[in-house]
Structure formats: structure tokens, C-alpha cells
Symmetry: C2
Subunit: 294 residues, 2 copies
């Protein structure tokens, strides 16, 4: 089964990559801004968010072509957030995925503008898509804005910046993760179920699943920082320790963090069963995310 | 008439200010991010873009309440662009409207995030508004994204950054202004006419008017930098000269720039007549913008 999931992920990743590149080329002019947008888009990544959206939509019987605009818009938001988070005034990272970050490759002004342009493009490709109804576009843009804005991802990043170099309670840590990474993952699941005309009960179950998945993802990130292989995760092991970052292993111990993760996996699996979509790629994705080694 | 226009502008400005503040409070949590968003929103400004949108909508018989979300969303875009443009990596301005810029009052990370949050909020308040139909929301979000993104405002700012410290042709200068400031002004006019169900012919006329207005605005800016009163314009006279910035007076001479402006005023006035809305606040707004002293 592992082989199948890998080929599923790789097929979807390629589709998302092509779509993203086409969108950037179609909606910008050749020049420095486009170069910087393409540079970060082409830097790749797991494309977890769009794939999660597409896998959920598939589980609810949605045609793939209806998911491409919103899946791409979602990944544009994620990409812009990485560009801005890497800036010297924020996390000050010079390298991402083995390549110079946008402001190192270009300059800070270009990186800021490329991020702004990708964020803006996200709403544009969703509203400009011919496969979605107006009602769907409005729902998707509204929920994506909500998940990524001042009560979502941006708030999470702000609180993360504020918590640097001081000790953070488990409650604060969960608040940061729920907003900074959880809300976009949750949006992916909700958007897929919405396009599949899930019932209110199914939507609620998928919300539980999305929230659990966000935390699983983060706990595994923290665990990998302690136990992972530096070559695989692409950053030195123990870098959170060096950065005085609060992590689940630090707050709960390594075993405690693993137990917490396993409880969340249980929650996510049960929610999938309740929503009647456990016989889908989503079950394997949960398993994959909770046991990934990078 | 001048007194009336002033009280019209002041009434609308107050309405826009209240609406913007309410939106920020309603769509964010108390804390540093909200403080920074409110700080820039409350720094005020002429609110030219939302007022132009509302005046156009009024000329086409639209109820004011239907314009508030999109007028606010438009001003959020303008505000975020000022926050990001002021950053050290961009124009590096410490003062705006007599107050410290966002990154001086807070810090760079907070300024970047407050800008990102305002940009995101723009789509959210439009899609979340109860006075607009889904069709209207989709049109407005799509056109606003287009005007403010990689083929609009952000592209204009990128090209402006690229043209620093070198001489720029009249063609390049117009390209920068059309994108950096023109497209949002043009959106204001188009959105108002669209909500008023303008015919295709009227929309075309309003497009001419919007484009002319954008250039009038910019030429007058450049003229004021030569002939203006530093206390009124809020920055030293001649600062463009010191910055080696290309301007209309430099390229056309002061008289040439004034002539160009007058021709554009003529174009704008004729377009209003053709669209049958010359008996509105728009005529006075053109006059006001072309002769403003700050």
C-alpha cells in the first residue's frame, strides 16, 4: 500500500506543480516579479495542503478538475507565507529546501512583493475559475481568507514571533500551531468536503479530522527535530532546542508527545469513519503524516 | 460649491473610517496584530479610493450600504501597500502623515504581518457581506485582485523599485503609475459603475475616466513636489529631485506637465458626459484632484 500512496502523492504533486506554474505565467508579466514568484513556486515542497484538499474532494466524489483552482490558491497562500516568514525581520532563514530563500536569491523588496502578489493571486484564480459556481467561489474565498488572516495563519505567525525566546505554555503552543499551520490544513479538508456537498454532520466530522491532522503534523515535526535524520528533514536535528523554541517533546517529554500524537491519530481515524470516507486515500494520508521521517 | 464638496468628502471619509475600524475589530483578536492593523487604518488619509467608488456608485443610483464592504476592502489594499512600501527594504520611510510608519512604531515583522492581514481581510469582508449577491462578490474580488496584483499595483511597485536611481522614459513612467496607483483608482470607478448596472458603453466611458483620473492624480503629485507648500503636502518640496525620481515636470517641463494634466481633465470630463453622469460629485472630484494643493 505504501508504494501506492507514494505514487498517488507524486501524481498529484506533479499536477499541482504544473497548475501553479501555469497560473503564475498566465497572471503575471515576464520580469523580475514573475521570476521571483516562479522561483518560490518551483522550489517545490510536499504540496501537502492541495493534495489533502484533492484527496478529501475525491473521497466525497468531486471531479478533480473542480478542485484545481482552490488547491492552487491554497498552495499560493502557503508559499507566500514561507517567503515572508523567511525574511530577515521574521525567521531570518537563508536556505529553504536546500536553495537560497527568495530574499537571498533576489532581494528583500522583491521577496516582499512576490509574497504579496502570490497572496493576491490566490483570490484571483479562485474567482476567475470556470469550473466553480459563484456560490462555491464566494464560500471558498471567504473561508480561505478567514483561515489565512488575522484570526488564522497570520495571527499564528504573529504570536509565534511574540513567543520567541521565552517559555510558552502548552495552551499557547497549541494556539500558535492551530492558527499558524492548523487552519490551512483544516481549510483543505473543509473545502474538499464542501465541494463534495457533505452534510452538516459530515462537515463536523471532517472539521475534527482536519484539526487533529494539523496537530499531528506539528507534533511529528517537533518529534523529528529530536529523533530525525538531518539529511532527511533538511535542517539540523535539535535546531528547536538551539532556538529556545517550545515544542511538544519539551513540554510533554518525547514519550508524552508520541502518546499525544497517537491519541490524535485515533481521533482523526474515527472522524473519517463517522463521515463515511475512511475507505479513501485520507486514511493512508493520516498514517503517512503521523509516521513521516521528513 | 467648494464648501459642499468639502463637506461631502468629510462625511464620506468619516463613514469609511468607522467602517474600516469596525471591520478590523470584528475580524481580528485583540493583541499586537490588531493594534498594528488599527494603527495604520486610524492614521487616516484622504480615503480617495473608497470615496471615488462611493461617488461613482451614487452617480449610477446605487444605495450607499451596498458599497461599504468593497469600498473598505479597497482601502485595506491601499493601506497594506503603504505599510509594505514604507519598509526599510522598500522606500525606507520613517514618517507617514506626520506619524511614525508601522515598522518604526512596532517593528518590521509586525508591519509585514499587519500588511498581509489587511490584504487578506479585503477579500474576506467583500465575500462576507450580506448586501451583495454572490455574482457581485465574485466580480468585485476578481477585479480587485487583478488591479492590485502581479499585473496591477504590485507590478507597478516592483517596476518602481527597479527604476530607482536611473533615468526612466515617459513610457516607463506611465507604465509604473498606471499600475502602481492607476489601477486601484480605476477599480474604484469600475466597481461603482458595475454595482450601478452601467451598460457596456457606460462602463467603457468610465474606464476612460478612471484611467485619466489616475494620471491626473500622479501628475498633480509631481507638480506639487515642484511648486507645493511643504507644510501642506507633508514632505519637503523637491524631494523627488533629491531622490533622482523621474517625474512629469522633469520629462515634460512644468508647463508641459500642466498642459498634459489639463488635456486629461478634458478627457475625464467628456467621458463623464458620455456616460451621462456629469451631473454628480464626480465632476467636482476631478476638478478637486487636478487642483489640490496637498
Amino acid at each position: 500500500m505504501k508504494v501506492n500512496l507514494q505514487s498517488y502523492l507524486s501524481e498529484k504533486r506533479q499536477l499541482v506543480n504544473e497548475q501553479l506554474e501555469n497560473y503564475v505565467r498566465d497572471y503575471s508579466y515576464p520580469g523580475r516579479l514573475q521570476d521571483a514568484m516562479l522561483y518560490s513556486i518551483e522550489a517545490g515542497g510536499k504540496r501537502l495542503r492541495p493534495i489533502l484538499l484533492m484527496a478529501t474532494a475525491e473521497a466525497f466524489g468531486v471531479e478533480e478538475v473542480k478542485t484545481l483552482a482552490v488547491a492552487s490558491g491554497l498552495e499560493m497562500i502557503h508559499t507566500y507565507s514561507l517567503i515572508h516568514d523567511d525574511l530577515p525581520a521574521m525567521d531570518n532563514d537563508d536556505i529553504r529546501r536546500g536553495m537560497p530563500t527568495s530574499h537571498k536569491k533576489f532581494d528583500e523588496a522583491t521577496a516582499i512583493l512576490a509574497g504579496d502578489a502570490l497572496l493576491t493571486l490566490s483570490s484571483q484564480v479562485i474567482t476567475d475559475n470556470e469550473k466553480l459556481t459563484d456560490e462555491q467561489k464566494v464560500f471558498l474565498v471567504r473561508e480561505l481568507s478567514k483561515a489565512s488572516g488575522a484570526r488564522g495563519m497570520v495571527e499564528g505567525q504573529m504570536k509565534d514571533m511574540e513567543s520567541e525566546n521565552r517559555s510558552v505554555s502548552l495552551e499557547e503552543l497549541e494556539y500558535i500551531h492551530k492558527n499558524k499551520t492548523g487552519q490551512l490544513l483544516n481549510f483543505a479538508v473543509m473545502a474538499g468536503a464542501y465541494l463534495g456537498e457533505a452534510t452538516d454532520f459530515e462537515m463536523d466530522q471532517m472539521k475534527h479530522m482536519g484539526q487533529a491532522l494539523g496537530l499531528i503534523f506539528q507534533i511529528q515535526d517537533d518529534i523529528l527535530d529530536v529523533t530525525g535524520d538531518a539529511d532527511k528533514i533538511g535542517k539540523p536535528v535539535g535546531s528547536d532546542e538551539g532556538n529556545h523554541k517550545s515544542t511538544y517533546p519539551k513540554l510533554l517529554g518525547l514519550d508524552g508527545a508520541k502518546e499525544q500524537k497517537n491519541r490524535l491519530v485515533q481521533t482523526a481515524v474515527e472522524a473519517l469513519e463517522q463521515a463515511g470516507v475512511n475507505d479513501s486515500w485520507l486514511s493512508e494520508l493520516i498514517d503517512h503524516l503521523s509516521s513521516r521521517d521528513h
